[in-house]
Symmetry: C2
Subunit: 203 residues, 2 copies
DNA sequence: CAACAAAAAAGACACTGTCAAGATTGATTA
DNA sequence: TAATCAATCTTGACAGTGTCTTTTTTGTTG
């Protein structure tokens, strides 16, 4: 009956997830700059220091948001890599395009996920690392496969880890230059990705 | 005689360059987080609002610092590309290695130069753009040359702009992943760069 | 020398993250 | 059921921050 967001109970009930949800929404809508603990608390209908019972500090909250992003990214890569209806070459192309598209469609989230803020030596939460590392590792696995199938243009002695670091670097770099506003021509994203695919494929 | 940094004159004399110098030092030493206008003003020996007569706001100051970085980067690329004692292949390899090395040796400056903060639509100063764009353009020129000499692995129809965006994306991405703390094994930087070179060269 | 404009200072405001101390609640145990 | 306790939430407070407005000082110029 009364689902007006006016705070009525002293104990919120599920503040932790509420904080994550609303913070994510704020992030998507107005960017990381507009995400402050005080505004967040206000919007959730709770006092400014209530969040501190669920997150050690602001950084821990940000790590929590990023976790969700890495789950998405991991799932996306896994799904496309395991689709039976596509050739290896198509899958490789899909990886490049999808990765950049993910960043372009969730610029604020992507910025957070790979921003130095949460990856500074003592900042990354254990929970975050346990979600992000498998995501990183999966990209190495994909590269290993592509390498075995002689899809990529490089010499024999190159190991999969290095190659995947280069591939990842490429998509990450393109994504970053796009969403940070240095590549200003958003309209040619597909062309850039196509070019990247072309430059990496063995002929 | 008295070169103690105690403020003695009302008018500083050359506050603008002093601010840039000290701010750059603060940036290198302790990172962007530690650069605040108030601390900066304090260290220069001036009131907290004095800087506003030389920079519209904090963002304008940061743009000023970044300018110097782009001058360096431009010069570095130009010098190595014009060295007569090296083969084209060596120059290409040098470009990749040098670029990443530049970022790794000046992490805070690089982060500022390519951070979204100063490149947000209305944030970049005209002066910054006039220094940065030629720097970007030069990378296209280099790529055009490499393309003409059939150094790179890609098909005929690829244009130099797209190829240079991919190349730049690669070095930028590798650099970012390194200095943001996502690639934690700094010791293999050279190997990653070598691998990148190998993957891009035509065979 | 007087007038003016540039440069610097001081006051003030609305933010921010975070901590300490107290209030309220739901759950557990006696 | 009643008392205890820990989790949760609130309020007050502090030291920061960027930036605006008003006032003071200075160098320059007519």
């Amino acid at each position: 009956m009364t689902n007006i967001p006016i705070k009525v109970k002293y104990h919120h009930g599920d503040l932790r997830t509420s904080l994550l949800e609303v913070a994510s929404k704020m992030l998507n809508e107005s960017g990381i700059e507009e995400v402050s603990l005080r505004k967040l608390a206000n919007r959730v209908g709770v006092s400014r220091s209530a969040p501190y019972h669920h997150f050690k500090d602001k950084n821990a909250l940000l790590c929590g948001i990023a976790e969700e992003g890495f789950k998405q990214l991991y799932l996306m890569n896994k799904n496309s890599f395991n689709s039976d209806s596509k050739s290896t070459k198509e899958k490789f192309s899909l990886f490049i395009h999808q990765y950049v598209k993910f960043a372009k469609s969730n610029p604020e989230l992507y910025e957070l996920m790979f921003g130095r803020a949460i990856w500074k030596p003592q900042n990354s939460t254990k929970a975050l690392r346990e979600i992000a590392y498998p995501c990183f590792q999966y990209q190495v696995e994909m590269t290993k496969k592509w390498q075995k199938l002689k899809l990529l243009n490089h010499s024999e002695e190159d190991n999969a880890l290095r190659a995947s670091q280069v591939l990842w670097g490429t998509v990450h770099g393109i994504a970053k230059l796009l969403i940070d506003g240095i590549y200003t021509d958003d309209s040619h994203v597909e062309e850039i990705c196509d070019c990247a695919v072309d430059m990496f494929l063995a002929r």
